[in-house]
Each structure stands twice: as structure tokens, then as C-alpha cells.
Symmetry: C3
Subunit: 639 residues, 3 copies
């Protein structure tokens, strides 16, 4: 498949007389895809039951006639105002008990049956009308599930549904639930499923098993909401169905939701993320303010390649300053091109710029587009055009299996956030730190879900922080050919958030290590390792007869190994992680490099890419990389 | 008119037997004015309809007999407890939906019709009784409108009134509102005005047009509340009517409210403000902890001179430590005198010290007065007495038009706070930074409202950050004689908070500049200018053929000029602002100086004043200024 | 009485088949006491009225048969889920008005009459059954009153009860209340007690007299709740009754509650406290992260010795990492032993480790025990065993009166927190700073309640910050033999939170000092004293003819003295406090030392103890103290 570009367009925002010109300019710029419709419900159905499709018919027609392929979004992220009259209790409720009402977007509770039916109704109407439209080449369900903290809702509808979900899970046996959760601890036992409330507004922290169950339930609701739309669309259309996930939204299981979709897409805002979601230090913030973190987007690319089982896009690519971060700088010239090529290097089929034209009104009026509000080209337009030209002569999308796999598990993220044990500790942060160390060593990485059981072809597999590991996953990893690096906190909990005791964690077959004690540490109290670097913020006391690979300066084991099984009992800083990766990578037979700061590489089956994320030229083995520079190098056969 | 002093007194707080002595001591200290009554409703009407005027009759009589002129306050900021029984829904509601109940002050919602009627009733009763009293020489409405964040209320009453206000504004045409607000953006369209809610408790940010409209509506409510009292008082009294505004309260339009009043007064607490409202750095906090910011009070003086159309007072002057700031130090000896003279230098008719005697009970018991709680004199008393003596021989109040005008627009402040684009950016802060630069250059300044259309006599006019500029204001500024310095963000929005697109902002007649892109920056990422100094936190990309006055070190234009029209596209730091003022001031023919740190000057028609706000003596061109020193120099004719 | 050890055990958490083994291991480890039952209500009464005592019968029997003495806890801190069906309004309500519901612990409002009756019912049932049980050697009421901010509740039940409490206090005279509170200040007068609301959700700060009264009322509720249980237990049992107070919980009066109990116990978590409650600087946090603050536990030991009128225990002693602090490090080897001996040095009868075995489920699964979750010994077990052996040959519990007394007054803490005047100022912090200075001088200290009137035998008595001093306390201190150090803020308020005015504070007999003005200061603005050190954050201006002991570098008096009465008008930093204690201590005839950092001493009647709280060996006059080292030295007769 050829790489392609696209954009996000809102015909309903603009006078119909400029649609044609817009479509022509998109095509001229080299764009192939145009996503539309996802916020248009009030325009499609201004009053209940009064559907107005004509404008959308014409918009699709205009776009299609100019050779653009339409991605049509179901508009369920923005129910119209009249929906709130019909279902006054349709809103999600925050942890303080306040309803989150009408006036922006995502104002619905996934548990609400009435709104669930409405979301199916509008999806059916849309799919019926456009399922066979030749210009509609793909679908998108809703928009950015979970964005604005909308997965968890403490509504009455959620309470009722949660009880039912638990009753199913425990086969109606409340004593099984009490036992699984350890409710005896503080007289928290229930006599019936109808006793169970939501884990908010408790006096002190609620039972973590209760919290984790509520997160799993909430994730399942999102999956069910999405599945209902997919099933309807499939009745009327053969076009692939996608959803645009948002960066670092982890509160529902993207892998599980993704099983119902053909294509995973995600929305990539490198500069906004750096301010808001990366967890960068002030120094990193300054160094990369106009480029974004050098690894954060790449991690998501690899993640969504896994979620999409190979098929994935960037559905929304930042083209200039955004409106929503604490600070909103402009990208360094060249970064829009770099971000686009980086996505392709990780196997993207398409990159769509959000948005075509900056809207001069409403919430996102400070969000740049390819065009300025006065319809002149913004700086990103030229970079998009350059990429469009470059992909004409570039090879097909052809990913290659990476030599290293990194397991990513949404459930583990929920478990960590339920009981992080130390302020600021997060599973996502731990995974990102490991991912960064792999990247600094010049490695390409595949991300795998915790449901993976086949690990053939990987020299090294990482499973940091995977709090609960099913026994068959343990067995599969123990049996696979590659070396496996676990920990910290891998296997630390059973399925209901209890500490396994026979033996203590990690309880990995073939690995003679137990975690006998755990401590969290102030960030200003690193524990130095004997060889340099340090464990920071989280450290386990390890016992067992496995070989000690790394130990603290005081001699306590930190990394231990039995054959191909390696366990790391601390959150290592960058220096220590680099040493560990170098050591275990070498043992696993990996080819590694030490890349200059901010330089990253990535391989597909046919090419090796080099990216300079810094604001200055950098000398590399493929020559001088200018600031924001990209080098594509064709691989020799067998290289 | 002679300059005069006064104080704020609460006869109801003290045994009647000491009233006479208090009055005598006030007169002996040289005070002329005494404000009373503004929190006394429960004393005047302890039960509904049972009025008790006798004590107030006697208090006014005692004060008047000692030669004091009374400012009588309507007591509507503190409705009695029984009012809440009559109107249980009379309270304002905070953004989380919690009512803000009885137990302190300002516990009412401006939208509540029942309380509105009650406020008129008590005003009428008070005006009837004292309108002709010869000792009542001025009135005050309510107390510190807006203080404690009381302008915005998310009550049901506010919701209903907001809809009606919008219906009026849009002539009942809901589609006009939808269009003006860009509600199509996220399917936010309304079918009827009754659909419209308040912009709180939304999932993510509400439409900024919605927010700004709600702020404008809320300001109008304050104006109407005040006007109702003024109209009643005027039926019974010829004495001038005032209101005491609080420092850096910007959430209603003081100019608009002030149109109904004869005198503007404000409450000046320099040390409390420095901790709480100035936005000072820790270094500035330390340097000026006992003096207050050298410009913050002056800016308010100039502001309220404009609000009062020339007639203004300080109604409450800090005399010692206050109770309400995070830290409450004592003033440096001499500062109470300095603050008093500074007010006179800016044209104040009167300065009243708050309060006569420190109350040993209730909320403000740690708020100093002229007297201690044991009735001995606090340190401020001697300084007040000195000022009283000094004004005996001082010239009359005689302001002169300043050479520089600075536009101040409450609506702009609402617009900035609605969508600041970068953390910590505020219109007020931008105006203060410009005001400070003008003051460091030794200039006297007039503040003008955005409704001004006559600019004769000003050599330089500044209009920074004036987000929405009506076309006739643009024309008036383009046509005036003086040079005009706009930006950043001037003209950035139309009347409904949309970005103008034909052309892009600032769209100023005769100025060939457009803002093609906007970015906000982390405070630790200043963008250096070629000539020194930097743009910080906010920077616009400018295009156009105007002359470039200042550019970044990388060569991007920051300040551009066509003739008398100058546009600055960045938030400049102090060094850059000093350069800019020096440059444009010189071009405008202004006489400027570079004043030592913490020294400020101000001219009236007859005198030049020098103030040393530092804690050490400073050598100046008028000689050695001691710490907290004041020099008054009579001006030669024509100087 | 012999010193003894114990542990906290939850038989209901573990299979019955391991109870015997657990009991045997406890006894083998040298433990004598085992506390049980305090969270077991749902196990005892799984459905309303269906009591299940058999398991508890057997558990007590097993433990008793192994020679363990049982402390039986009433289970009222964790009412079962069905209680919420019976009393849906039984929950406390937070200051925002949100109920604090079921799902953790302490989910009840002390004002709720229905739950109050239930708490008595279960207490009676338990006391009836076990009052005569020979193994039940002590009782505990409830668990950690006040923990998780549960003393204050803004419920409807609290509102009604508060009014009644006030009506009693003011003999039904509402005008007396209005006068006492200064309600005239902002028209806050009430016409009837039924008008009075709770002091939350006001527009700005409520009347401090109102707040303080509500805190006193809330404290009384806790005392009454506890007393009801005590009175019931005493009908059936002669065993002593205790309650386990939590560290730095000050929102109810422990002295008053303690009058109803035979033994005071407290829960000591040195590492958790250091992170959370000590107010340590980052440097101190790092230096003592694995040891805890060197004085915080000792202060509590002395406090609870006073609360228990000599009889006190540590009921819960931290044995390893806990789960609830921001960071949860492991203790330095030796610290569990040090903490145990430190308690004994301060006169503890028993030290119980919390908990026997780490629970692998529910909220506290990351809280270490003497055993790991897999029943192996955790590191603390060996240290407990060592202490158990050491106490075999140690002297009996035999406290001696200390040479120095420090008054501690819960009411003063409420007053400070009601109106701290400066950010971060707290009474507890002030007392801790004084206590630390005394300890650095090598002194043993007795803590006394503000109800003490006998001060015989003390050379020096400290009464810092005791905001309200009854006249007879003033007289008793003025008359006692020792020297007395008051201030800052001592005597600053009358009984209803008004400033005394005739004369101004401190109004101490025989001391010619008044506080003429008060200021609070930014922490980065210390006011240097002439002799070194500084006053920080809070400073009073003193007038009077008393002798000046210390003054600022600018010459303002800070410490003044008349004979045995000494007043300090500032919050002194450590250097200045050390000087002051050295000076007044010498004058009082105290024997003092300058101890090395982190080394502390404490004397009983028979022994002198030395403790090294640092992580490195320290040379002292009793020899080299290893890290976490303890030296016990028998005292010569008369030493």
C-alpha cells in the first residue's frame, strides 16, 4: 500500500461556496483523505427526528469529485442540546458527584442506556445513507474516546451497570466477590450485589480491588459502545472502520476495542503532549519545546501498529501551535515533515493533518491548521506538500518485525494508578523510560499486548511493570526463544489486586527470585548502583539464587538472571537503564548503537530512517543531520 | 477643592459612650470625613420591618457636631440572617454548583429579584431618613462590588436572567446567536434561548463566546444593581454618590458603573496587594514587602480618576498590617504618609484610613487601624496627623492632563481570562507592565476607557491587549494627533470573540501589519530581541510592509510602524519595554528620564512629586530621598 | 510494671487453621499483647441482629492459651454496609457538602443519633460477652478517632446538634452569643439559635469565633461518643480501657477524652509522619527518610504520657515500609529496635507492632508487618525479638518527673488554625520547634495540659502560643516556683476568640509587656536578631518596662523578662531558640548539653538513654553510638 496524506475538514463550518475550492486545494496539495462529520450531529438532526442529510450529501460529493477519499465519522461525541431534554441524566458524573453537562463535547455517560440507543440510531441512519457511497472509503466511530477524562463516570446509571457487571463476573456469588476483594479487611463485606456502590467519595482510599474492577468495567463499557456502532456500520458498508485514539489516554483497553476495528488511528500533538503528558523535566521541556519529545510519538506509533494489528494511521497530526496546552509554541520549521515521515517510518498508512483551516470561532480558534483563518496557507502547508511529493517516489508501506518487543498492558496502567505506592509513579512512565532506553540504543521496537502468546523472532522481550500476569503468559514468555526482561512490579498482583503469596512475586517459572520487600523513595534520594546510575523512586528487595547482574553500591541485588529470564527490581534512571539494555541486549545478540542526543532511527523492511529531533545540526554515521532533519536510506538486501 | 483626609468608622461596634471621644479625636487628628453604615443592616433592621434608626441618628449627630462630614453607606453588602429565611435561594452559586451562604459578607446573587427589591427597599428607607441630613455629605453604595469573586454566580436566577439578556441582545433570533458564537463547531447549537445554560460544569472548556457573554451579562447586573440604588438616593439627596471599588477587581465594568456616580473611590491595601494581586516575583516581594509595589497603587489612582471623570478618593487606605494576605507585614515607617501623598499627587480629593480603631473581634481583628484595639494610637496615626498638617498649606486639587494615555478596557480583561492562550497571561498584567515602563521613564499617565474617542493633547497613546476594538475607536485612534502603540493581541477578536479574518488582526487603518500566527511560551523560554531584552510568554508572527522597529535576534519583526501607528506583537520584558518606550516616546516628543529603582514621579498642574518606594535613601535630581521619602516641588509657570 | 511487647492481629483475615501457629510464633518472639477485633463488625454481625461470636470466642481462646493477653477493640470505626441502609444519613459531610460514604473506614458522623445508639449496642454486646473473659486484659474503643479528617462534619445532624450545644453554652441567650462573637461586625447577628448554620460554604472567611466554637463542639462530640462506650464496658469488665490516638491528630481534645480512659495509646509511624506531618525541610526529609524525625515521636510519647496520666503505650509501631505516605521507604536496620526503646525511655508500658502479618489484600497490602504476606519473618521480627530479650533484664517502667514542662493545648491548636495570620503557621509546629530546642539541649521534658494548675518541681515551664489562657492558669504560672517562658501569641485571645484590650495581650500578671502590633512575614524574610539567629514568619512588637533579653538587629525587643516571667514575641528559628533556651535554662538552673545532630537523650528514674537517629556512627560522651544505636545507662543514686 502506498503511503498517503489527508486532512480533517468540517464543511458545516464554512460557506458552501468555498467547498469546491477547498477540495481542489486539498487535492493540489497532494492530500488523498479527508475526514468529516464527527461533530456534526446538530447539523444533521437539528431537531429530534428531523434529519438533514442534503448538505452532507453535497459535501461528500464535492470532495469525492476532486478525488478525495472520505473518512466519515459518526457524530456521537457531540449529541445535540435537545438530547439533554430527552435524557436529563445522560451526563457523566465526576468523582465529586457533579454532572458534566452540555456545552462542549463528550457530554455523555457510557452507562446511559437511553443515549446508547440514540448513538446506535444515528449511526444506523448514517450508515444506511452512506454505506454504499463510493466516496466514503473509511469510517471513524465517535471521536477520541476517553478524552477529557470521560471514561470513568460516577453516575447512577454506572452504579447499576457496575453491579450487574460484577454479578456476571462472580456468577452471582457475593461471597466470592468478598473473598476476592478481601472485603473482610475493614468490614467492607457486601450481602448482595445491590449493596455495591462506586469507589468515590469514600472517607479514605477505597479498596483497590474495588477501584480496579470499576476501571475494568468502565473500559468494557467503552468497548461495548464502540462495538455497537461497528456492528451497525458493517451491515451497510464494506469500508474499513477506525477510531482515533488520543495520546496517553489509557483508561480503556485500546487493544480490546481495537479488535472490532480494521484500522487504528491516533491523534498526534507532539508539542501539546510535551507540556502536558510526557512528564518531561523543565530542561527537556526547554530543549524540545518546538519539536516534542523524541520518543513519545514513536511509542504511540508502535502501540497503534499493534492495536491495529499492522494497519494504522495518524488521524490528526499537529500542524502548528495548538490551543490546549499550558503553553503553545510553534513547531520548529521542518518538524511537520519530520513528524509525518516518522509516522511512515513506523508503518503508518496515512497521516492526516488536523485541521484543514483554522476555525476563527469557538473553542479551538487558536488551533492552527494547514490554512490560516483567512484561507492563506499556514507554514505547515508547504511541509505537507513536500511530504506529498516525497511519498510519490517512496517505497510501499512495508513494516518489518523489530528485534525487540515491549509488552504494553492497559490493565497494568489501571493497577499502577490504583495504588502507585509512591507519588508520581505510573506504569506509562515506566514503559516510556524503557522505550527511550531502547531507542537511545538505536533499536526498532514492536509493542505487543499482554494477550500475546507468540514471541517468535524477538531476541529480547521487555515486560516491565506488568502487574498481573496470567499463568499462560508467564509460561509463554518462559518458553520463548528470546531473553525476557521483567520488572519492576511485574507479576506483583493477582487478577483481583491481591499480592500472590505462594510464592511471593514475581513468581516466574524458572526464575529464582522473590520480591521480599518494596519501598518507594523521594525523587531526590536515588539509590546508586555499583556500576553507575541509580535506582530512583521505587526499589524492591530481591531474594533468590539467580545470578546478580546489577546491584546497588551497598551490594543489594537489583537485576537478577536465570538463563533467559531477567528480573529488574528497581525503577532505573536513564544511565542505569542504558547500561542494563547494553548488557542484556548484547547477551541477546542485538545490534545496538549509542545515538547522539535527540537523534533516533527506525527501520522498515526496506528502509532505515534517521531523525534529528534537536534544534541544531548533528553529525551522525549517515552524515550531518540538519535541525529537524530526516534521512531515508534504502536497505541492502539482508541488511 | 482642598485635599482632605478621613476614616472609616463603625459606631455600632463600640459603646455609645465613646462616640463623642472618638469624634473629637478624629477632628483633632485633622480628619474631615467619616464613612459609616455600610455593614449595619442587622443593626438598622434587626427583624424584618422593624427599623431602628435612633442609634444611627445619634451617631451622625455626634460626628457632625464635631465638624466631620459623613459618607453614608447603603448596607446591602451584608443582608441580615432573616433575609435568608425570606429568600432561601438568594445566594450566589459557585462554579461547582455550591451555594455561597450566610456567615460572612457579599452573600447575595445579583440576579435574584427578591433580594434586588430588598436592596432597593433599605436604600429608600435610608435615603428618606438621611437624604436631607446636613451632616451626610456623600453616599456610598454597597461595599466593594465583586470582592471575594462575587460577580459571577451560577444560580438558577442567573440562568434565567442570562437567557433573557441574550434574547434581548440577539433580538430573539437564536440562529443569530448560534452564528455569532460559532455553535456549529461542536454541535452546540441551541433551538431556543431557553436551551441556554451557564458555562460551568462542562466536560471540557465551554465556548469562549458563551463565557464572554456570561461575563458581560454579569457585569451588567452589577451596574443595574448599583443604578437602582443611585436612582433612589437621588430622589432624596443632593450629596454626591460614590462606590468603593476594590483593587484589581476587574470582573465588572467600573467605567460603566461609574457613569451613574459622581465620585469614584477605591480601597488601597498596598502590602496585601503585593502578596496577592500584583504578580510580583519573589525578589520583588522581598524588596517591597513593607512598601508595596511602586506602581500598582498609582495605576489604580489613574484608573479611578478616569472612572470618576476626574473626581476620586481613596476610601480605604491601609494604615498597618492587614489580616487577609498570605503574609501580613507592617509598613515601613513613612509609607502611610507616602501612600497618602501619592494619592493626592494623582488627583485624589480625599484619603480615608481604614479603619479608625482595630476591632478586637470577628473576621478582621488582625486588621490594623489608626487606633489600636485598646484605643491608643497605632503608628499610622502620627503619619495621618502629619499629612493633615501638610495639606493645610498645600495647593488645591488640580490635576493636569498627562502627556501619555493608556487605554484600559474591562471587556478586554474578560476576553483574556476567557482564553489566555498561555498559562498566567492576563490583560491586567500586560497593562501593568506597560504602565510600569512608562513610570520608569518618569512619565505621568492618564488612563482612558475604551469608549474614549477624543485623544487631543496626548503625545502617545497605548492600547496594549485591547482584544476587541470597535471600528470607531480604531478610526479615532488612527485620526488622533498622538502616536499610538498597539499590541500584543490588540484587535485580536471581534465583538463575539471570533478572530477577524478579512483581514487578520489587528486590522488597524493605516497600519500594514497582520498577525499571521500566535504562540505562547514557557516563562523560561524568552525569545531575545536583536537589541537586548526579550519577548516572553507570548509572541506573534507579524507580516506586512510596515517599518520594523524591533525584531528578534533571529530577525523576525516584533514591533512595526506606519507613521503614527505602531504595533508590538510580543509581551516584552522590562528591558525591552524600556527600550520601546524610550524609542517611541522620543519619536513622540515626550520628555523622559530614567528613574532610579523604586523612585517614581507624578505631576499635577501645580506640583511635581517624587516618591521613594525603597527601604533605603536614594540620590535623585531633586536631592537625597530618604526611605519612604516624599518630595513636593512647586512647578514654575509653564514648566 | 515490666515493659512488654505486643502486636496487632486480625484472626478474621486468616484461615482458622493457622491461628494456633500464629499464636505460638507470637509467644516465641517474646510478645505478650495482641490487639484484635477493632475492624470486625461485619464478621461479628454480618446481618442486622445476627451475631456471630463463635469465631471470636475461638480466636481469643487460642491466643489466651498461648499466654497472650488480648486487647479487645470495639469495632465502631467500621460499621457494616447494612448500617447505611438503616441510616442513609449517617455519614459525615465534608466542607463542600459532599457525604463521605461507605467503602473504607470511619464512615460515620459523630452527631448522628442513630449511629450513636448502634455504636453503644455493639459495644454492649461485646462487653457482655467478653467482659469477664480472663484473656481479655484490656480494651480499646473504636480506632484512631479523627483520622482521615473525620472529626468535623458539616451534616444536618451536626447543624442541629451544634445549635443545641450553643444554646446550652449561652443559656439560651442569643444576644449573649452575638455579643461574644462580635456578630455586629458584618450584620451577622442571629435572632435565635435556630438561625445558626455551620461555618462552611461562606462567601469569604466565616467569623473565627463561629469556627472555633464549631471545633470545640466537634471535639465534645468525640469525647461523648467515646464516653458512652467506656461507660458500657465498665459495667461488664474491670480491664483497663484505652484508645489508640493517631500522630498529629489535634482536632479533638485528647486530654479531655483521655480522662475517661485508664491508658492512652498512640500509633507511631515515624517514616510516614516525616513525609506527611512533621513539616520537615527537603534536607531533613533526605537525612531522616529511613529513621524519621528525631523528636516527633518523642513529643508524642511525652504527650500521651500526660494524656494517660502516666499510663501509656504505643499501640501501633511501624515495623517496615507503610503504604500511605507520599513515599514509603524502608527503615534503616536497627530503627525498629530504636523506636521501641525510645518509647520505653519515655515511660511506655508496652509497644505493639502493627501488624503481625502483612495482608496481601485490600487497602493496606503495602503495609509491612512482622511477618511477610508469605508468613516468613520480615526484617522487623528479628529486632522485635531482640527487644523482647533485652526487656527481660531491664528495669521496671519507672518514669521520673522531668525538669522542664511544656504546656500543650488542643484548643490553642484550633485557635491557630482558625486564624493563623500567616500562611503555614501552626500551633503544633510552634510547640514542636520549642520541643526540639529543649531536646537539642539534652533535656527530658514533661508535657502538661492547659488544665494543669500544679507546677511544682519544674525549673522551667514553656507555654508558647497558648492563645487563650484562663485567669487561674495565668495566676498558677505566675505563682509557681519555676521560670515560665511564654509566647509568641500566648494569651492573644479571650475565651471567644476576641483580642483582650484592657490591657492588650499577653496580660500576664507581673509581666510588664504588651503586644502592640503583630505581623506575619514571608519565610524568605527572616528578621535577624542582634545576637544571631532570627525571628521568622511571625513577629510581635513589644512594649513595656520589662528587661529586654533578646532584640532584633535593629534594636526592637523580642524577648522580655520580669523575674520568673519571660515573654518571647517572635517565632524564632533554631539558632535563636537554642540561644534562648541556653539563656533561660541556665538562669533556671537546668543542666544542659549541646547534643550532636540527631542524637537525643532521655532519662527515667533509673536509666539514661542515648539514641542515634542518624545513618552514621556518632561520637558522644557515652562512647561511639552506631547508626540507629541505643545506649542504656543505669543511673547512680541521686544522679
Amino acid at each position: 500500500m502506498k503511503r498517503s496524506l489527508g486532512t480533517c475538514y468540517y464543511p458545516e463550518h464554512w460557506p458552501e461556496e468555498i467547498w469546491t475550492q477547498d477540495a481542489k486545494r486539498m487535492a493540489d496539495m497532494g492530500l488523498s483523505w479527508v475526514r468529516i462529520g464527527e461533530f456534526s450531529w446538530a447539523k444533521l438532526e437539528p431537531s429530534p427526528g428531523q434529519l438533514q442529510w442534503d448538505w452532507l450529501d453535497r459535501a461528500i460529493d464535492v470532495l469525492g469529485r476532486h478525488g478525495l477519499r472520505v473518512v466519515l465519522g459518526t457524530p456521537t461525541a457531540t449529541p445535540p442540546r435537545w438530547m439533554a431534554d430527552r435524557y436529563p441524566d445522560m451526563f457523566a458524573v465526576d468523582a465529586d458527584g457533579h454532572p458534566r453537562g452540555f456545552g462542549s463535547r463528550r457530554h455523555y455517560c457510557f452507562s446511559h442506556r437511553g443515549y446508547f440507543a440514540e448513538s446506535q440510531r444515528i449511526t444506523r441512519l448514517m450508515a444506511e445513507r452512506y454505506g454504499a457511497n463510493p466516496h466514503v472509503a473509511a469510517w471513524q466511530t465517535d471521536n477520541e474516546y476517553g478524552c477529557h477524562d470521560t471514561t470513568l463516570s460516577y453516575s447512577e446509571a454506572a452504579r447499576v451497570a457496575f453491579r450487574d457487571w460484577l454479578r456476571d463476573r462472580f456468577d452471582g456469588d457475593i461471597s466470592a466477590l468478598n473473598a476476592a476483594w478481601g472485603n473482610v479487611f475493614w468490614s467492607m463485606d457486601y450481602r448482595d450485589f445491590s449493596d455495591i456502590g462506586l469507589p468515590n467519595l469514600t472517607v479514605t482510599e477505597p479498596n483497590p480491588a474495588h477501584v480496579l474492577a470499576f476501571k475494568r468495567f468502565s473500559s468494557d463499557l467503552v468497548v461495548a459502545f464502540n462495538r455497537a456502532q461497528v456492528e451497525i456500520i458493517k451491515q451497510f458498508s464494506d469500508a474499513p472502520i477506525s477510531h482515533n485514539y488520543m495520546g496517553r489516554i489509557t483508561d480503556f483497553d485500546h487493544f480490546k476495542l481495537g479488535e472490532d476495528l480494521e484500522i487504528a488511528t491516533w491523534d498526534s500533538y507532539p508539542l501539546g503532549f510535551l507540556e502536558d503528558r510526557v512528564g518531561a523535566t523543565p530542561q527537556e521541556q526547554r530543549a524540545y519545546a518546538r519539536q516534542g519529545d523524541p520518543d513519545f510519538q514513536a511509542l504511540h506509533h508502535d502501540l497503534y501498529r499493534a492495536v491495529g494489528r499492522g494497519r494504522w494511521w495518524v488521524m490528526e497530526q499537529q500542524p502548528g501551535p495548538v490551543n490546549w496546552a499550558p503553553y503553545n509554541p510553534a513547531p520548529l520549521p521542518g518538524m511537520v515533515r519530520l513528524w509525518s515521515w516518522e509516522a511512515f517510518a513506523h508503518g503508518a498508512e496515512a497521516v492526516c493533518y488536523f485541521r484543514w483551516r483554522q476555525a476563527p470561532f469557538a473553542q479551538e480558534q487558536m488551533h492552527a491548521g494547514l490554512l490560516r483563518p483567512d484561507s492563506e496557507e499556514a507554514p505547515a502547508a508547504a511541509e505537507a506538500r513536500q511530504v506529498a511529493e516525497e511519498i510519490q517516489t517512496a517505497p510501499m508501506v512495508q513494516p518489518a518485525q523489530a528485534p525487540v518487543a515491549l509488552l504494553f498492558d492497559y490493565d497494568a496502567d489501571w493497577a499502577w494508578s490504583t495504588q502507585p505506592h509512591g507519588a508520581g509513579l505510573s506504569y506509562f512512565g515506566l514503559v516510556l523510560d524503557h522505550y527511550k532506553a531502547l531507542r537511545r540504543a538505536g533499536l526498532s521496537i514492536d509493542i505487543l499486548p499482554a494477550t500475546a502468546r507468540e514471541f517468535g523472532g524477538y531476541d529480547l522481550i521487555l515486560a516491565p511493570g506488568l502487574m498481573h500476569m496470567p499463568e499462560d503468559l508467564k509460561a509463554a514468555l518462559a518458553d520463548c526463544e528470546g531473553d525476557v526482561l521483567y520488572g519492576p512490579r511485574t507479576g506483583a498482583r493477582d487478577a483481583h489486586f491481591n499480592i500472590p503469596t505462594a510464592p511471593l512475586p514475581p513468581a516466574l517459572p524458572g526464575l529464582d527470585v522473590i520480591v521480599s520487600r518494596v519501598e518507594s523513595l523521594r525523587p531526590d534520594m536515588p539509590v546508586p548502583l555499583a556500576v553507575g546510575g541509580a535506582a530512583t523512586r521505587y526499589l524492591e528487595e530481591l531474594e533468590g539464587d539467580a545470578e546478580v547482574l546489577l546491584c546497588t553500591a551497598a551490594g543489594a541485588p537489583v537485576v537478577m538472571r536465570n538463563g533467559e529470564q531477567i528480573y529488574c527490581g528497581g525503577w532505573l534512571d536513564a544511565e542505569a537503564l542504558d547500561r542494563l539494555i547494553a548488557q542484556v541486549g548484547a547477551a541477546a545478540g542485538l545490534t545496538m548503537r549509542r545515538l547522539p542526543d535527540g537523534v533516533r532511527t527506525r527501520r522498515t523492511a526496506t528502509e532505515e530512517f534517521w531523525f534529528n529531533h534537536t534544534a541544531a545540526p548533528v553529525e551522525t554515521e549517515v552524515g550531518l543531520l540538519p535541525a529537524a532533519g530526516v534521512v531515508r536510506r534504502a536497505l541492502e538486501a539482508g541488511e
